[in-house]
Amino acid sequence: MTTYVVRRLLDLVFVLFGVSVLIFMMLRAIPGDAVAIMLGANVDITPERVDALRRQLGLHLPIHEQYLRWLTDVLRGDLGRSVWTGRPVADEILGRLPVTLQLSGMALVTAIAVSFPLGMAAARTRGTRADAWMRVSSIVGLTLPPFWVGVLMLYVFSIYLPTWPSIGYVPFGDDPLGNLARMVLPVIAVSLPMIAALTRILRSSLLDVLSLDYIRTGRAKGLAPRSLFYKHALRNALIPVVTVIGVQAGHLLSGVIVIEQVFAIPGLGRLVIGAINERNYPLAQGVILTATVVFVFINLLVDLAYAWIDPRVEYG
């Protein structure tokens, strides 16, 4: 296991290096003079202003030196300054990150909490007419665009429950109930595809495991059905489910970034879209870097959980 973890961490260093190079190149790859674009129409573009911003961004140095300088800054937690507000990008991101994490975390927990009983119940429908129905509805759930579900729910709530606070965000510390009430709709919209995916995989995985010989043996030697199911079948059936949770976590994050736009939730998604629309490239760069690094570590956790649950994973 230790060798596996070490190897996985080495992979991680390489991947993070690649990610940092790509994101660093982002600012440099923008056609035309990114600096002039960033100065925008709001101020007079004087050569002095352009020059000052170029120096601030370190654009006068050779490219590899720029990268090294940028990387050392990033590792020290300095992601540069927002072009418009002048505030450190890291501060802007830290203010928004908890919002996105709360929404994603709640959606993830909801998806797991709903899909487990559903998947287990669905495993009992084998061979019935419900089979095909199950399958179609899970595919419909998978392709259901969260932003559409969000828009429709907003409409329904604005007509039938106009007092419900469905838009915006308040910190949990300020108003716990208000915070949770505003999370309900976005969490539903974002978790639906994941519920569909998890229910389906759990069901088929359970059916596979339940048809194996050792379950029959267990039944033959008189194990209580309940313990047979929970202790012997479910644990083995979880292995493919963990893989799907990993894959779906990525889609979930994508869903969250878009849904923030629907419900006016001030998270990383709104921050990055706003930054790109304002051509605030250092800010956009910082958000994409932060979210990707968080995502890389989530994937690492999923891989480690997988190795932990399934002893057959090769650690070599």
Binding site: L22, M26, I139, V140, P145, W148, V151, N277
Partner: protein, 279 residues
């Protein structure tokens, strides 16, 4: 291949998906013939209307015919999805085959590059590419294509390695067949089935990603009709008339659903090991 068609016919879900794909594709291709109005034709007196005989699905805030705009929206959606998946499949499979065939440094460098692309959350990578290239349908296709590259590279490399170890490939090599010939004539046909499944499923998700990006305002730009953009704009007048929101989202769902059902049916057929497991 004929056998495949026969087995597909017995798979009802796959057939339903296939039919839905055909309908959507035809609607997109024949949009100018099927449309009852011009896609940008505005009738200010007929704004915010519900479905009627004059406007099958109603009208939007400019009095534009929703049925017509959805047909043209399918066009943009499918064009972007096909271009993106085509780009990703051709380049990704080539990279995967090259990695498998040459091995060593080529393999390591290519696949490590794919790992880096895979490290990004899908939508963020697409957003980053669009931030650099600027919005528009073409750039959206390119962005989604880049996002899907590594999936096809991985899906080609693994099975290609297996096929390369088969004896008849060694025989072909011994007879002096070139690398390109071995890969295209001997390896590719053997690994095509899972690639086709992935291709179909990718079309389904590409339609959703295109809609998301256009919804965010980074994808297709007005006045080009786009389903994601329609949904985004319709939010402003939803309380006056919800039809634009309902139908544009439903259109996204149907287009994506067709390819997903079809791909799901295909997977059942080409991968007997998975049959029963997935249904």
């Amino acid at each position: 291949m004929r056998d495949l068609g026969r087995r597909l016919l017995r798979n009802h879900i796959g057939v339903a998906g296939f039919v839905l794909c055909i309908i959507v594709t035809f609607a997109a291709a024949l949009a100018p013939l099927l449309a009852t109005h011009g896609p940008r034709e505005q009738q200010v007196v007929a704004r915010f209307q519900g479905p009627s005989t004059a406007h099958l699905l109603g009208t939007d805030n400019f009095g534009r015919d929703l049925y017509t705009r959805i047909l043209y929206g399918f066009r943009t959606s499918l064009a972007v999805a096909f271009a993106a998946v085509g780009f990703a499949a051709v380049l990704g499979v080539t990279a995967g085959l090259a990695a498998a065939f040459y091995g060593g440094v080529v393999d390591r460098v290519l696949m490590r590059m794919m790992d880096v692309l895979l490290a990004f959350p899908i939508i963020l990578l697409a957003i980053a590419v669009l931030a650099v290239l600027g919005p528009g349908s073409g750039n959206t296709a390119l962005a989604i294509g880049i996002v899907y590259l590594p999936m096809f590279a991985r899906l080609a490399r693994g099975p290609a390695l297996t096929v390369l170890s088969w004896e008849y490939v060694s025989a072909a090599r011994a007879l002096g067949a070139s690398g390109v010939r071995i890969m295209t004539r001997h390896v590719l046909p053997n690994i095509l089935a899972p690639l086709l499944v992935q291709l179909t499923l990718s079309l389904s998700t590409a339609i959703l990603v295109e809609a998301s990006l256009s919804f965010l305002g980074l994808g297709t730009q007005p006045p080009t009709p786009s389903l994601g953009l329609m949904l985004s704009e319709s939010r402003d007048f939803m309380l006056l008339s919800p039809w634009a929101s309902i139908f544009s989202g439903l259109a996204i769902l149907l287009a994506s659903l067709g390819f997903n059902l079809f791909g799901d049916g295909l997977r059942d057929i080409v991968d007997p090991a998975l049959r029963g497991a997935a249904d």
